[in-house]
């Protein structure tokens, strides 16, 4: 029996512990890869170089100095690793699912957990930020093993509620992050795209790498409704009556043009845009991360 199956959301749902979920997802993913994306960068490497004026004297390796009487500093460890931030949207709309095992939020959490697991394994420091109308929780990035437990326990206890302000929150995050980082945003992006684009540009402007995991429910992508339906928006409680059968093609056009808009914008800004829906396997998301990481070195 392979662990491939754990890449399927409907299977992973049966596992209640988030740490196990993350582990299964990552193991299933790694087993499925033929050529290792890990080649070409080392997680164990540490290097010394001669001290040059301007370096932080705190970084001087005094053991080397004791042996050789020369100033060497060991700063390479920090530069070879990437600091990742998992930015999770807590909006009420993320709690939606129509006929899938996982809601968008569950899917985002699983994915975030898996990425967190993977990054900690790579000894990359991982931080966690959640937001709705503003940033709600944040965990500073660390690469220690026990940090995984902290992140996962926080993720497991998150509950989506209320309206959201993605653009404002991303702007806030951009201001928060001092260090160049890999910002992985998990959101359904169901808001006006223009302010979001501005915030994303802001993040890029500050030197952050951004992966935008655009998570939609399978129903939001395929519109499998029939008959006369009154749709209600969960955050604003707005209602619209529509004949779903006849409207399907229009809706699909609208949603694909929305995704295309993000795709184009992200491509122009060097942002990795990963359109997902809750029926898709996790490997796509993970592969996207790894490809993105490799591209950085």
């Amino acid at each position: 029996m392979t662990v491939d199956k754990y890449l399927k959301p409907e299977v992973i749902r049966q596992i209640s512990r988030l740490d196990l979920r993350a582990e299964f997802v990552v193991k299933g993913f790694l087993q499925g890869l033929h050529a290792s994306p890990f080649q070409g960068f080392s997680v164990e490497f540490s290097e010394h170089r001669k001290y040059t004026p301007g370096d932080d004297p705190q970084d001087i390796d005094w053991l080397v100095y004791a042996k050789t009487d020369k100033y060497y500093i060991k700063k390479f460890e920090a530069e070879t690793n990437i600091t990742g931030y998992l930015v999770v949207d807590l909006s009420q709309s993320m709690a939606y699912t129509f006929r899938q095992e996982l809601s968008k939020f569950d899917y985002a959490i699983c994915l975030a957990a898996a990425l967190c697991y993977l990054m900690i394994q790579q000894q990359d420091p991982v931080g966690l930020i959640t937001f709705d109308q503003r940033v709600r929780n944040s965990l500073a990035p660390k690469s220690k093993r026990n940090h995984l437990g902290n992140v996962l326990s926080l993720l497991a206890n998150l509950k989506p509620s209320g309206p959201t302000d993605i653009a404002g929150s991303l702007g806030q995050i951009a201001a928060m992050l001092k260090q160049r980082s890999l910002v992985m945003v998990f959101s359904d992006l169901l808001t006006d795209p223009e302010p979001v684009f501005r915030s994303l540009r802001q993040l890029r402007h500050r030197g952050h790498d951004v992966i935008l995991f655009h998570i939609l429910d399978e129903a939001e992508v395929r519109f499998p409704f029939d008959g006369y339906i009154e749709f209600e928006e969960p955050e604003t409680n707005e209602k619209t009556e529509v004949d779903a059968t006849g409207f399907r093609s229009e809706y699909l056009e609208a949603i694909s043009s929305f995704r295309e808009q993000y795709q184009n914008e992200c491509f122009q800004r060097g942002i990795d845009y990963v359109p997902l829906d809750t029926s898709m396997q996790f490997d796509k998301a993970l592969l996207e991360y790894l490809i993105s990481r490799r591209g950085r070195f």
């Binding site: 009420q92 709309s93 939606y96 359904d188 169901l190 939609l216 429910d217 129903a219 939001e220 395929r222 499998p224 409704f225 029939d226 008959g227 006369y228 339906i229 009154e230 749709f231 209600e232 928006e233 969960p234 955050e235 707005e238 619209t240 009556e241 529509v242 004949d243 059968t245 006849g246 409207f247 399907r248 229009e250 809706y251 699909l252 056009e253 609208a254 949603i255 929305f258």
Partner: protein, 785 residues
């Protein structure tokens, strides 16, 4: 356009159901949470408009579905197949137009090729369909395509009930065969049809309440003596059918196709009526027999109907044969006036027995005709009934016997009052020759007096008074005569040389008798170039001269003098003129009596100096003899006594004498009797449909009268009309000549078809149903991505 079930059209009101469902009972939306609502809202408006359009289209189709279904069940139809075809073509043209519009729209919006292909194929199919129907309509004329045989019709059954329909062939009369076919026909007519049963007697055709009534009326049909011709009856029926409920109208004529039945001046009217009423289909059902074998008697000719005692009775008739020839014996039977009257016994009428008066044996060849003459002497006073009968049996029995009635009377008494110098001998000898007087055969008994004695004589004993060459009478005497004539007697005034002063004839009291203004002028032509010249012989007085015509030797009896008539009253009538066109004999009616005036005397002897005329003594004086007799018969009102009639004629028997009873019991030939009452001096019998002797007997049995009725020769003539003549008779209008029920059924099928829209509506219903289904499925199908 008519509908079989008009009430079902109300079903079209059910179109309200989809409309109500659409407008009022709108579908309740299913509530559902959906975060990506923004994308729905973006496109919602255009979608809503398109959806609305689709919904309206669907609603329209569903309404059309119900409306078409209602129309289909109501079974609309038009009477004319041609009209039906054109309506159909119009419908197809509208559909074709819609499809062409759809093709244009599909091309403009660059819809799929398949859609455009399907629409083009549909357009082509519609075009071909329409063209085919047009071509078929042209080629078939009024012929049809598809139709419902069971739609109700307005049917009229016309029966020829002339006596010849009693012709028996294969132990069935023509009328019985008509009834048998009609009974079958009625039983197979569609239910709720309107039916008219008409025979050729007079009467207004009306629709009967139901099939049962029609069956009863058909079964009760009887032969009638007086009938209309068929073209006239058909015209009347076609006119009546114009008010019928149903568009499909059928006329069935049961006829033996005899020439007489179809001979009519109304044939043109019938042809025109049928041409203008194209929706009336005429079926002529031939129940006749092509090879008839029959002996029949022609019309009876009697020498006179009112005879003097002992005068001979001559009866002429013809034996007419159709067929290969044969022998027959013909009998003359007479009933004596003294025979006991008919008696009712056990509900039946026992008629007096008739004795055989004469017999004749005849042998006829192929379609032969033989004249017959019987003679007998009638010695007793009273009414004689008789019959001439062909012995033996043949196809048609009604024409084997002819009936007649004659009256034998005493000599009528005539008073001849002569003026000075007038010779009454000419008139009295003309009326009652001595030989006849001696043998008691004279029709008249003449009493001669002088003019002066007139006032002393009781005139009531005389049937007529003749004034020969009178002088003007006293006013009293004139009044006396006016009263006498007004009672119903006759007066003859033969003016001559004594009529002076002429104005006294025109005095007030006398104008009633003299409706003329005499000029005090005598036309005098001693050369003898004036003579009586009766050219117009229409008056009964001149009837006897009609046969001789122009060969009557009037010129042999010249008139030298006659009175000139200046002016004639409107009521008076000139019977005869001289060859100078001046009036010779003038008639005037007064009360119930008559007056005849001549402008030259009837009493001038030839040896008299300057005689006014040589009428009685000319070289050929037989016209004088006949004219005098006829004038007198006319005056005593015997000349126009008619005792023999054709069936259907109104019979009027005048009162003969003052002591005549005012009530008679009449025994009719069919064995029934009825009481006749005198009305204003006449006995009037209106219903004379049966042929035979009609016997009138007074209550005490002492007085007997009677008359006879025969079928006209035309009504028993079996000669058939041929197909060519029948075609000519109908002209442009079409008719179907059929003989058997199966032929009727086949022809009915051909004429009834083609006016129904049922199949087309059914086709349209299927198309609309298919469209509705497709559209609904297209709108609401589950799209599996």
């Amino acid at each position: 356009m008519t509908f079989v079930n008009v009430s079902l059209l109300a079903g079209a009101a059910l179109v309200a159901i989809p409309i109500v469902l659409h407008l009022i009972l709108r579908q309740r939306p299913k509530p559902m949470v959906f975060p990506a609502l923004r994308f729905i809202q973006q496109r919602h408006e255009t979608n809503r408009r398109r959806l609305k359009l689709r919904h309206w289209l669907l609603l329209l189709l569903r309404c059309a579905l119900i409306a078409i279904l209602a129309l289909l069940l109501a079974s609309p139809s038009v009477a004319s197949t041609l009209l039906a075809s054109w309506i159909l073509v119009a419908g197809i043209a509208v559909l074709l137009l819609v499809v062409i519009c759809l093709i244009v729209v599909a091309t403009l919006y660059q819809r799929s090729l398949i859609l455009r292909g399907i629409l083009s194929a549909l357009a082509l199919a519609l075009f071909v369909c329409g063209s085919l129907i047009v071509v078929m309509s042209w080629s078939r004329g009024t012929g049809g395509t598809i139709g419902d045989q069971e739609a109700p019709v307005s049917a009229a059954l016309i029966f020829d009930v002339a006596p010849r329909m009693l012709y028996r062939h294969q132990n069935q009369t023509r009328l019985e065969q008509s009834q048998e076919i009609a009974s079958w026909l009625l039983s197979q007519l569609p239910s709720s049809s309107e039916i008219m049963v008409v025979d050729t007697r007079q009467g207004v055709p009306i629709f009967l309440s139901d099939l049962g009534a029609a069956q009863k009326q058909t079964a009760a049909l009887q032969v009638a003596g007086s009938t209309r011709n068929l073209p006239e009856t058909v015209s009347a029926v076609v006119q009546s059918l114009e008010q019928s409920l149903h568009e499909r109208r059928e006329v069935y004529v049961f006829s033996d196709l005899s020439r007489e039945a179809w001979k009519d001046a109304a044939a043109n009217i019938m042809s025109d009526m049928l041409s203008t009423n194209q929706n009336v289909h005429l079926f002529v059902i031939d129940v006749g027999v092509s090879e008839t074998v029959n002996f029949g008697l022609g019309e009876i000719e009697l020498a006179g109907q009112s005879l003097a005692t002992n005068s001979p009775l001559r009866i002429r008739t013809e034996l007419i044969h159709t067929g290969p020839g044969g022998k027959r014996e013909v009998e003359l039977r007479m009933e004596r006036p003294t025979a006991p009257p008919p008696i009712r016994q056990d509900g039946k009428l026992l008629l007096p027995t008739a004795r055989i008066a004469d017999r004749a044996n005849c042998e006829l060849g192929l379609d032969g005709v033989q004249s017959l003459e019987f003679q007998t002497r009638l010695a007793e006073l009273g009414t004689y009934h008789g019959s001439v009968k062909v012995l033996g049996t043949d196809g048609l029995e009604v024409d084997d016997i002819r009936f007649f009635t004659v009256e034998v009377r005493d000599a009528r008494r005539v008073l001849i009052a002569s003026g000075v110098g007038a010779t009454p001998l000419f008139v009295s000898e003309a009326l009652a020759p001595r030989e006849y007087r001696e043998s008691r055969q004279a029709r008249f008994q003449c009493d001669e007096i002088s003019l002066q004695e007139l006032e002393q004589v009781d005139l009531s004993a005389y049937a007529a008074v003749c004034l020969l060459d009178p002088t003007p009478l006293t006013p009293n005497a004139w009044q006396h005569l006016v009263a006498y004539v007004a009672e119903g007697r006759g007066l003859g005034v033969f003016l001559g040389r004594n009529a002076r002063p002429v104005r006294e004839f025109m005095e007030h009291a006398v104008t009633e008798l003299f409706p003329i203004q005499l000029r005090p002028l005598v036309i005098h032509r001693p050369e003898g170039e004036i003579f009586l010249a009766a050219q117009d012989m229409s008056h009964p007085v001149l009837a006897k001269f009609r046969a001789a015509g122009m060969s009557v030797p009037w010129h042999a009896s010249p008139v030298f003098r006659h009175w000139a008539v200046e002016e004639i009253d409107g009521k008076a009538q000139v019977i005869a003129t001289y060859n100078n066109n001046r009036p010779a004999i003038i008639e005037q009616s007064l009360g119930r009596g008559r007056v005849l005036i001549t402008t030259t005397p009837w009493s001038d002897a030839a040896n008299r100096s300057e005689p006014w005329n040589l009428l009685p003594v000319g070289s050929q004086s037989w016209p004088f003899l006949v004219l005098t007799n006829e004038m007198m018969l006319y005056l005593v009102a015997d000349g126009n006594i008619r005792l023999n009639f054709h069936a259907g004629e109104k019979v009027v028997l005048s009162e003969r004498f003052a002591t005549e009873p005012d009530r008679y019991r009449m025994f009719t030939p069919d064995g029934t009797w009825e009481d006749l009452h005198q009305i204003a001096g006449d006995f009037v019998i209106r219903y004379t449909e049966d042929s035979g002797n009609y016997r009138l007997v007074s209550e005490d049995g002492s007085q007997k009268r009677g008359f006879s009725v025969n079928y006209s020769l035309a009504s028993t003539d079996l000669q058939r009309i041929d197909q060519e003549n029948l075609d000519q008779l109908f002209g442009d209008s079409s008719y179907k000549l059929v003989r058997t029920p199966s032929e009727i059924q086949r022809e009915q099928g051909e004429t009834r078809m083609g006016s129904e829209f049922y199949p087309y509506l059914a086709l349209l219903l299927v198309v609309v149903l298919g469209l509705e289904h497709t559209l609904a499925n297209r709108f609401y199908r589950h799209r599996e991505a």
